[in-house]
């Protein structure tokens, strides 16, 4: 056994178990018979010979024999169990049973039970799946179980966790991209730009410029000073600051702020940078569930089954 460097504990456990069982057997055997005195007629006395408190004697009222036999049967059962299953030290048992194996079996059974359902959804287009009421219900349950901790029960996100209902996407809102995001996860990195930009004043100026892009109140003088400095940011966010979904850089011209849109928060983001991780769910959930989940998430900001023109109208509302 790799857990132990010596065989001591193996023998320790084995010995205690074996001695325990043997002890039970000996106790049963020895207690099933008892020496008593003979009375005047040469017959065994009716009491066990135990006397307490001077005159309190114990009558021998025998227990039924099947009762004792059942005790012996438990010993037989115990020995049989120890041969078949792990229990004697590091001995693995003839059946080779493992808790990990039992878990795998249960998993395989669940896959066999629900696999066909998800396989059937996998064959269908994501937008098509999103319009399926049953898939929507499954997706909702999956979301509430696995996603709601960060993105919230209503999928509207938290500070640092994107809102999934607003049709604003860091990596793209196409159903296939959403699926990829869930499958493989994402690592969003905004590097700390404080040193690259220069002084705190520079950071403040850039912050005001960024805020002005989405029409937020900003100091025009600071905006004017910040604009040229924004060149350092344009590498990722683009010269027009619309962001780049290829690398997950945020669009800075809308009112969506992952960490908050106050000047202080924006300055903090610029100075210290941000690190953000969406874990990969592909291996844990399997592609089938992720497929249904992606369709559900997409449906939160789109109207499944609607005409493309209509969709924009809904989104615009």
């Amino acid at each position: 056994m790799s857990d132990f460097t010596s065989g001591f504990w193996n023998w320790y456990v084995t010995l205690i178990t074996v001695l325990g069982i043997a002890g039970c057997a000996i106790l049963l055997w020895s207690q099933s018979r008892h020496k008593v005195r003979l009375d005047d007629k040469g017959q065994p006395e009716k009491t066990t010979g135990h006397v307490w408190d001077e005159d309190l004697t114990e009558l021998n009222t025998p227990m039924p024999r099947w009762w004792m036999i059942m005790f012996y049967l438990t010993i037989v059962f115990g020995v049989g169990y120890l041969i078949l299953y792990p229990g004697l030290g590091s001995y693995a048992g003839r059946l080779g049973w493992q808790s990990a194996g039992a878990y795998k079996q249960e998993l395989a059974k669940a896959d066999a039970d629900y696999g066909p359902l998800f396989a059937q959804y996998m064959k269908r287009d994501l937008k098509d799946v999103a319009a399926d009421p049953q898939a929507h219900a499954i997706g909702e349950r999956l979301f509430l179980t696995y996603c709601a901790q960060c993105h919230g029960s209503d999928a509207r996100g938290n500070k640092g966790y994107p809102n999934l209902t607003d049709n604003d996407w860091l990596y793209g809102g196409d159903p296939s991209v959403i699926k990829e995001t869930i499958m493989k996860g994402r690592n969003g990195v905004m590097p700390p730009m404080g040193a690259a930009l220069g002084s705190d004043t520079d950071v403040e100026n850039v912050a005001h410029y960024v805020l002005s892009l989405s029409g937020a109140p900003a100091d025009p003088i600071k905006v004017a000073y910040g604009k040229p400095k924004f060149a350092a940011c344009a590498a990722c966010h683009g010269a027009d600051a619309h962001g780049n979904q290829m690398i997950g850089s945020a669009n800075l011209t809308d009112k969506v702020w992952l960490y908050g849109g106050s000047p202080e928060t924006v300055m903090e983001t610029i100075r210290k940078g941000r690190n953000n991780t969406m874990p990969a769910w592909g291996e844990f959930l399997g592609e089938g569930k992720v497929h249904v989940l992606a369709a559900y998430v997409w449906s939160l900001s789109n109207t499944p089954g609607a005409q493309p023109g209509l969709q924009h109208e809904v989104a615009a509302k």
Binding site: Q31, S32, R33, H34, K35, V36, R37, L38, D40, G42, P44, N60, P62, M63, P64, R65, W66, W67, M68, E140, R141, L144, A148, Q149, C150, H151, G152, S153, D154, A155, R156, N158, K159, Y161
Partner: protein
């Protein structure tokens, strides 16, 4: 004493069970017991076949975690009712035992009832007591083998039907019947059918009084409920002793025919007084009454009587006068209170359950207009059998309102988690935690509503 003779011997502390072959008995109490057998078994074997609302009327669906009891659907959350039912049963038992001893054991306990059925089969196939004792001693002739085989087959058939019926309370019995007919029973169903069949066969065929004597806890704590005014099966020693067959006037009424011992299912002699083995079945009362009739003496040498009644030679009126005593009144009052409480709770039970879970990820967020938004997950359970549209409303904070859809549909006997956003105007609630209430009401039935407390947080 001979010095050479051994002074000690080794005795066994465990003894083989001695077979008890109770003689068939007829009389008032035997008839009453058979009436109980018919009543309980008609109920047990019949109930699972009863249908209503297109489903089995009584079905304990463990897989779906729903207990169907006629018009009632009980969920795991309703487990308190089971506790209440058990308490009522316990107090019922206490009261009955305080008044009339172990009548439950003697007339209605499944162990007694099935033993009675199995004994009936045994008598039809192997004959009554003396024939069975003879058969026991016989060598294994073809005739003995045939009778024993027939008996065990008949026992097995009753046992299998019992096991099947029992499992039929937990899995739809018609589908189960189909599966049996087509040999398509699943492994677990097969196991449980066989398990309960074996338990019936073993307990009613082989174990019998051993269950009462060595396994049943109730038999052992009964004495705690007994007092000197409890009706027990008693032998009137003052009238019966000295026992004997001589009719010269020197003897009591007991002719020592030993019929009371022969009919006893636990093999005791009631003339030795109250014993823990006595299940209060009154078979000896019936037997003795028959004998008393034959010898021309009044019935009741062995009868249900109390210790006080025997000592003071009371008549029935005097016994009845002691029926109401602190012990029975106490048990009776608790029993009535519990029964009334349970009925009220069941009648007022709302078939709708609501759990409010606040999203823990965020304290609360500010949305346009400076309003504050909190997110909740509502765990809604429609425990009734009809589908409803439910309206979700909030109260407790001025201007609090549910955003988006506030009406959800829930099918009968189903549960659903509903994410709900609640918004409060700026300044309507103070910073920190505020009390909020959720009320869910059925659109088509305003009486069907439930309110739950929650917390609304306004971040600093």
């Amino acid at each position: 004493m001979n010095a050479r003779a051994p002074k000690e011997a080794v005795i066994k502390m465990y003894a083989k069970r001695e077979a008890i072959h109770p003689r068939e008995v007829k009389g008032r109490f035997a008839t009453l017991r058979w009436a109980c057998v018919w009543l309980t078994q008609a109920l047990f074997y019949g109930l699972p076949w009863l249908f209503m609302h297109g489903r089995q009327a009584v079905l304990f669906d463990l897989g779906a975690r729903k207990f169907h009891l006629f018009g009632l659907v009980l969920w795991p959350q309703d487990f308190i009712y089971l506790a209440g039912l058990l308490i009522i049963c316990a107090y019922g038992l206490f009261l009955v035992t305080a008044v009339a001893g172990r009548v439950w054991c003697g007339y209605a306990c499944p162990q007694t009832v099935y033993t009675e059925i199995f004994l009936w089969i045994e008598r039809r196939i192997e004959g009554d007591r003396s024939a069975r004792i003879r058969l026991d001693r016989q060598p294994w002739t073809a005739q003995k083998v045939a009778r024993r085989t027939a008996k065990h087959l008949a026992w097995g058939a009753v046992a299998l039907w019992t096991g099947f019926t029992f499992v039929g309370y937990f899995t739809p019995i018609r589908a189960l019947g189909d599966a049996v007919a087509h040999l398509g029973l699943g492994p677990w169903e097969t196991f449980w059918v066989l398990f309960y069949s074996f338990a019936t066969y073993g307990n009613a065929g082989w174990m019998r009084e051993q269950v009462c004597k060595y396994m049943c806890p109730y038999a052992r704590f009964q004495s705690a409920m007994f007092d000197h005014d409890t009706l027990i099966v008693s032998y009137d020693g003052a009238r019966g002793e000295p026992r004997g067959a001589a009719r010269d006037g020197s003897r009591g009424d007991c002719i020592d025919c030993s019929l009371c011992v022969q009919v006893c299912p636990t093999g005791i002699d009631i003339r030795n007084g109250l014993q823990y083995e006595c299940i209060g079945c009154a078979a000896c009362v019936d037997a003795c009454d028959t004998v008393m009739d034959k010898v021309g003496k009044p019935q009741g040498l062995i009868r249900y009587a109390t210790e006080n009644a025997l000592a003071g030679r009371w008549n029935t009126q005097q016994i009845r006068a002691r029926l109401l005593r602190p012990r029975t009144i106490g048990y009776g009052v608790v029993l009535l209170l519990m029964a009334a409480g349970m009925s009220t709770a069941l009648a007022l039970r709302t078939p709708l359950k609501l759990d409010v879970i606040r999203d823990r990820g965020s304290m609360g967020r500010e949305v346009d207009g400076g309003r504050i938004e909190n997110v909740y997950r509502l765990q809604l359970m429609n425990t009734g059998e009809r589908a409803h549209l439910f309206r979700i409303q909030v109260g407790g904070i001025p201007t609090a309102a549910v955003v988006d859809e506030d009406v959800v549909e829930l099918a009968g006997a189903s549960a659903r988690a509903v994410p709900v956003r609640v918004r409060v105007d700026h300044g309507a609630a103070r910073t920190g935690s505020n009390a909020l209430t959720f009320t869910v009401t059925a659109e088509d039935d305003p009486a069907l509503h439930v309110t739950e407390k929650a917390v609304f947080i306004v971040p600093r």
